[in-house]
């Protein structure tokens, strides 16, 4: 079925992302939708980090003093994947801030955050 057992993490991450997409699309509570989108970023972050890992005696992507660069390049894990994740975590926080502010204001106006009950506008 799988070429290596090493692909099992991918499957788990895929399930996690699918649950989040489902919740963001079909759950009625706005707060739940926001949590789902936030967790979806986490799932993709895991995907990046798993892809950037190196098996064996690997070290973090910080060069120890005195180590030869070519030796470092052959044992350290991928810094590019780490970079993407740092960026995405910050962006995820900005999303959460924006949506929280909007959800609080929605509650102030409508007294509820259930999309089923907010029906001023009809798409």
């Amino acid at each position: 079925m799988f070429s290596t057992v090493g692909q099992l993490p991918y499957v788990l991450v895929a399930i996690m992302a699918s649950i989040c997409i489902y919740a963001a699309l079909f759950k009625s509570n706005l707060f739940k939708k926001m949590l789902a989108i936030f967790l979806m970023t986490d799932a993709v972050n895991l995907l990046f980090i798993i892809q950037g890992y190196r098996l064996g005696n690997a070290i973090p992507p910080i060069i120890p003093p005195g180590m030869d660069p070519s030796e470092f390049a052959s044992i350290a894990v991928d810094p590019l994947a780490h970079y993407f994740v740092v960026t995405a975590v910050v962006i995820g926080l900005a999303e959460v801030a924006t949506l929280t502010a909007l959800i609080i204001y929605t509650y102030k106006h409508y007294g509820t955050i259930e999309t089923k009950k907010i029906k001023e506008l009809r798409g």
Binding site: A17, I21, A24, L25, L30, K33, M34, I37, M40, T41, A43, V44, L47, F48, Q51, L80, A81, F84, T87, A88, I91, A94, E95, T98, L99, L102, I103, Y105, T106, H109, Y110, I118, E120, L121, G123
Partner: protein
């Protein structure tokens, strides 16, 4: 190359960056006049810089790549300044300038405008970045920048109940779309080991990069990635069946923002999708990428039909214009999806023309709503006698929107129909749904015109001031002038489509123009 011409597009972007926080600073220590003066001056400068870039790319040096931070493509982020991106960036600058002039008077009654101007600058920077960039992950960051600032500008009048509702609806779906796009970038990283758009298509053709090697996974999984990308951009560009946020968001935002959202934001989304599909996934030659084009055609037909038929039953003027946007985006998607050079150039021209037309229609609708105090179409009865000048401008805009010759959108709609007919195969039957939606759209728009010109002279709350009329006048005159010069227009579209569809030219420009040996 002259350094000013070389740096011009990037300078425009950096000016927007400076403007975003200088507006807040001036708003805190000096007040709103200073904010308006600063953002007016800065937006005017971006128009100047974008025109310099246009002159440079078309007449002097031709397309080039700007290496951000000095790093060549797979290592750093390339900005591709070519004939596809530069004209669109000029359109962005011009519309932002016109809405800037418009909003000084339009927002007179609103308190605290510093965040408004600040977020506008960030949205503009995001659009430049999306148009120029040649890096998949940079697109994610820029989508986030453009999307979040647009989400916040929709409920700018936060005491209006429905505006907040439209904002949260738009916010949830847009951010979900961007998260899905983020998932697809992770899969691209796994498969190609590089985020540069040009490297993706080169590797699909068997290229092995000195920096990032070849491919690391079987390309049979490519259609899944393509479908994820198309899904996320279909939400962002409001293509059916993910269109339901658009009429709410575009009708509840302040009219100066509706003009930008409807005129630019969705079009930028679809332009970036075209860039990714054609130059990234090699949609013209690779079967995996071609899936994206077929999806675009199917969704585009559904979009144009749904948008046009919902136009017939609207009673709110801004909602009617918003549904017209959905229809026209369907046309653009069809043009891009057909895949011929003619189709792409027609879609490109439609993007440009539709941007000007839709922005001016929303700006005039804002004037009408201020004058009558109501958004209902019925309340517009007799407005042509009270505001004859504005009504004349609105008439020209509407005629352009339904494709009345010789106004600009006539040419692009004609080209779209011709491209579908000449594509052959099953595609030529698409002409039928397209004609049906054009007819539906025309009926709805002409009915609105009839309401405006019927009835007795009526009282209005206020007359539009000179800057408002001036900014609308700029847009309408652009529509008329470009319509009168179809030859020039066609030339632009042809060159842009050339730069987009010719994948090997794009790959050579991005990857091979840097001739310094790899370490």
């Amino acid at each position: 190359m002259n350094p000013l011409l070389f740096q011009a597009p990037i300078l425009a972007m950096l000016l927007c960056l400076l403007g975003s926080f200088l507006c807040v600073l001036l708003g805190m220590i000096m007040g709103r006049r200073a904010v308006e003066l600063l953002s007016g001056a800065m937006t005017a400068t971006t128009v100047l810089l974008s025109s310099l870039a246009l002159i440079n790319v078309y007449l002097l040096e031709g397309p080039y790549v700007y290496y951000m931070g000095g790093w060549p493509p797979p290592v750093g982020i390339p900005y591709v300044i070519d004939r596809f991106s530069v004209p669109l960036s000029l359109v962005v600058s011009v519309i932002f300038f016109a809405t800037m002039v418009y909003s000084v008077r339009y927002l007179e009654k609103d308190r605290d405008v510093k965040w408004y101007y600040s977020l506008r600058f960030l949205m503009q920077a995001g659009m430049y970045g999306l148009l120029f960039t040649g890096d998949m992950f940079h697109i994610f960051v820029m989508l986030e920048l453009m999307g979040l600032s647009a989400i916040l500008l929709v409920p700018f009048r936060k005491e209006v109940k429905a505006a907040v509702e439209a904002g949260i609806k738009y916010g949830i779906y847009d951010i979900l779309a961007i998260s899905i796009y983020y998932l697809s970038t992770a899969m691209i990283f796994g498969m190609f080991g590089s985020m540069t758009i040009a490297e993706i298509s080169a590797k699909l053709g068997g290229y092995v990069s000195p920096f990032s090697g070849g491919m690391f996974a079987d390309p049979s999984a490519l259609p899944v990635i393509v479908a994820l990308v198309v899904w996320s951009f279909a939400i962002g560009a409001a293509i059916v069946p993910q269109h339901f946020w658009l009429p709410d968001a575009h009708s509840m935002a302040p009219s100066s923002i509706s003009a930008i959202l409807s005129g630019l934001l969705v079009q930028v989304n679809i332009a970036v999708l075209a860039r990714i599909l054609y130059d990234g996934f090699a949609a013209g030659s690779h079967p995996g990428g071609a899936v994206g084009l077929q999806l675009l055609v199917i969704l585009g037909v559904a979009s144009s039909l749904v948008g046009a038929s919902f136009m017939l039953v609207q009673s709110d003027i801004k909602r009617l214009i918003a549904y017209s946007t959905i229809t026209n985006l369907g046309f653009i998607a069809i043009g891009l999806g057909v895949g011929t050079s003619l189709g792409v150039s027609a879609a490109y021209l439609h993007i440009v023309n539709h941007a000007f037309v839709k922005a001016s229609l929303f700006m005039i609708a804002g004037v009408f709503i201020h004058a009558t105090g109501s958004r209902e179409i019925g309340a517009l009865r007799g407005i042509s006698k009270a505001l004859p000048g504005t009504s004349l401008l609105y008439t020209i805009g509407t005629l352009a929107a339904i494709g009345f010759p010789p106004l600009s959108m006539f040419w692009s709609k004609l080209l779209l129909l011709l491209s579908v007919l000449s594509a052959g195969g099953a595609y030529q039957y698409l002409v039928l749904p397209m004609v049906v939606s054009i007819v539906f759209e025309s009926i709805a728009q002409i009915r609105l015109l009839a309401v405006i010109y019927s009835g007795e002279k009526r009282e209005v709350n206020c007359h539009p001031s000179l800057p408002v009329i001036l900014s609308i006048g700029i847009m309408i005159s652009i529509i008329v002038v470009t319509g009168l010069m179809p030859g020039l227009l066609l030339e632009f579209g042809h060159l842009a489509a050339d730069d987009l569809v010719n994948v090997s030219g794009y790959v050579d420009l991005v990857l091979k123009s840097f001739n310094y040996p790899a370490p």
